[in-house]
Amino acid sequence: MLSIRDLHAEVEGKNILKGLNLEIREGEVHAIMGPNGSGKSTLGHVLSGRPGYEITQGSVEFLGKDLLELDTEERAHEGLFLAFQYPVEIPGVSNMEFLKASVDAVRESQGASAYDTVGFMRRAREACTAADLDQAFLKRGVNEGFSGGEKKRNELMQMMLLEPRLCILDETDSGLDIDALQVVASGVNAMRSESRSFLLVTHYQRLLDYIEPDFVHVLADGRIIRSGDKSLALELEAKGYSWLDDGEVA
């Protein structure tokens, strides 16, 4: 579904990704761990097409298309979703309005008919409940005055409604208490399917207690320096990242 080959990217003249390779097939769950500043968020932004990043080398193929050729919103239309590490506020635009507009835009691009308002509201309410958010959040401005945890659950709600093919979650678990963590985990688990894949960026093994990954990768200094199965995460938890430093990072 996604193949990243030798990806190099820079922002403001600074090299961040330095030859990253990653292959995600349909239905797989990949976890990426790595020290702060190693380029995890950058990877998410580069994939989703945030302006300001320059790709200096490499290629990314997503569902048979050259991802890097697509506009930001076209990538979303193809089914790529990024749950932000730091979701921004859009004052005055209600969550419901925003959700309806995004779902309509994505469905329209795929040639699917728009949901009628009543049908959509029912779905939105269900997603709200699944994300353990009060229905009142649908009426509030997008992320406006939400707590950190509420913002993260709001991202989850959007993800559920948009039904993407590839979900990238950038530290969605950071700053969540154990109950909220379980909400996110069960949301993700409910969405797992043979045609949907996940890329989970996380610092904590505990998320992987609830969402069992097929692969775990360690990202350091802009490259994946180690890949393994879920036991790698446990090992990292026990030993920290420095254990990998010797000889692994060029």
């Binding site: 989703s48 097409g49 945030r50 302006p51 300001g52 506009d71 930001t72 919103e73 990538r75 979303a76 239309h77 979703f81 990024l82 932000f84 979701p87 921004v88 506020e89 859009i90 004052p91 005055g92 635009v93 209600s94 309005e97 925003f98 507009a101 995004s102 779902v103 835009a105 994505v106 691009s109 401005g141 997008v142 959007q158 948009l162």
Partner: protein, 479 residues
């Protein structure tokens, strides 16, 4: 957001920019006493009104244009403007809509304002002013049942001279300011409304102004009188064709709310703003003021998206005790548009209250200024004002300014002022795009969200229209 994206999102298509091919009687350019005598004679006006106009002309000749506003434009050459233009077919004034030139009706259809009553917006009566004359007023019979008078001001001068004579210039005196004096001298048409005592007007009243002829100015005059305990909601909309020259629109609106009356006045102003290089567009120099008697309420709501230069301060004189003034404004400027707009709340009566909510949106290289005065007079014991003034910047080549003036002569008054400036951030746009929205849709959604507090004050029938107008103003011509 990159400059390119902004440009794309804001590359406006001015949908109302067509001209109508209609034969008109247009006075040659120039302004002298004879011009005024001509207009007055054309309208068969009584002697007192001619004298009133000539008096205004005298005053105007001794005045200079305002130079304090934060706008910059080539001076208007008042001798190059034509002060009167009417469609030829109006020579024998139509008695009913069936007699109105079909070309004219088609113009309004195109603007989305069907005038045939059976097709018209349910519950909205419309007066239509084309260049210098009112061409049609709908639903008059229905309004007459309730005793509501709604017609063009020229007609009111003939039919209700006492009401006109009593109130004309009572809120905006002839010598009030340069453009008000000019308007008083040369006003051609406009709407007149009278709501009798205790009557709640059974429908929304609305006037659509359209400038069609080249080189004409539009100087309309609107007078609304709400008698004791009455209630009316009125909306005006304005458009003009795209022309390379600047055209002048200098209107005066006077509202009189007698004891316990309520007037809600909404404007959706979409005069031609000029092109991306700042060529052409309407100079919108307007004086709007309401006088509120005891327990009366006057509420101004405006959505200003058009005009090359806007200079406009709908104001309230809160003369009666417990009277209430409100001002809700959205002003959007793009390209090289300039707006200097705001309000004046003059508190004279005891326990008078006013609210000001202003939302300024600047894009392109435009300049958008809020200018507001809150004055609490010595007699205004217990007066209160709340002002909230928010600016939203799109891109980094535009400007927003806030000029609040507060004059308090009574220590018991409470005046609160809040102001914010924000930008449509790259991150907000990125979020929207990541969720599948194109940049134009994203910008228009963000801007609409920013304006929500004002839109909810518009009459229901028009809130949707205003939202769409912003969307159109923001929509690109991409693809």
């Amino acid at each position: 957001m990159s400059q390119e994206q902004i440009d794309r999102a804001f590359a406006k298509d001015y949908a109302a920019g067509f001209t109508t091919d209609i034969e008109s009687d247009t006075l040659p350019p120039g302004l002298t006493e004879d011009t005024i005598r001509f207009i007055s004679a054309k309208k068969n006006e009584p002697e007192w009104l001619l004298e009133w106009r000539l008096g205004a002309f005298q005053v105007w000749r001794e005045m200079a244009g305002p130079d304090w506003a934060h706008v910059d434009y080539t001076e208007v050459d008042f001798q190059s403007i034509s002060y009167y233009s009417q469609p030829k077919s109006m020579e024998d004034r139509p008695k009913s809509l069936d007699e109105v030139d079909p070309e004219l009706l088609a113009t309004y259809e195109k603007l989305g304002i069907p005038l045939h009553e059976q097709e018209a917006l349910a519950g909205v009566a419309v007066d239509v002013v084309f260049d210098s004359v009112s061409v049609a007023t709908t639903f008059r019979a229905k309004l007459a049942e309730a005793g509501v008078l709604f017609c063009s001001i020229s007609e009111a001068v003939q039919q209700y001279p006492d009401l006109v004579r009593k109130h004309l210039g009572s809120v905006v005196p002839r010598k009030d300011n340069f453009y008000a004096a000019l308007n008083s001298a040369v006003f051609s048409d406009g709407s007149f409304v009278y709501i009798p005592k205790g009557v709640r007007c059974p429908m929304e009243l609305s006037t659509y102004f359209r400038i069609n002829e080249a080189n004409t100015g539009q100087f309309e005059r609107t007078l609304i009188i709400a008698d004791e305990g009455s209630h009316v909601s009125y909306l005006e909309g304005c458009t003009a064709p795209m022309r390379d020259e600047n055209q002048l629109h200098a209107a005066v609106v006077e509202l009189v709310a007698l004891d316990d009356a309520e007037i809600k006045y909404s404007t959706v102003q979409n005069w031609y703003p000029g092109d991306a290089e700042g060529k052409g567009g309407i100079y919108n120099f307007v004086t709007k003021r309401g006088l509120a008697h005891t327990n009366a309420k006057i509420s101004w709501t405006q959505v200003e998206t058009g005009s090359a230069v806007t200079w406009k301060y709908p104001s309230c004189i809160l003369r009666g005790d417990n009277s209430v003034g409100e001002f809700y404004s959205v002003a959007l400027t793009n390209n090289l548009q300039q707006a200097d707009t705001g309000t004046k709340m003059i508190h004279l009566g005891k326990n008078t209250r006013s609210t000001i909510i202003s939302k300024g949106i600047s894009a392109g290289k435009s300049s958008n200024a809020y200018r507001g005065l809150v004055r609490v007079g010595p007699t205004a014991k217990g007066a209160r004002n709340y002002t909230q003034c928010d600016s939203l910047l799109i891109g980094d080549q535009c400007a927003a300014h806030t000029f609040p003036y507060i004059e308090s002569k009574n220590p018991s008054g409470i005046i609160e002022h809040e102001a914010t400036t924000s930008k449509v951030s790259d991150d907000q746009l990125y979020l929207c795009q990541q969720r599948g929205l194109d940049p134009e849709k994203a910008v228009s959604m963000i801007v609409n969200g920013f304006c929500k507090e004002v839109f909810k004050e518009l009459p229901m029938e028009f809130a949707v229209e205003a939202g769409k107008l912003l969307e159109v103003s923001l929509e690109g011509s991409v693809g």
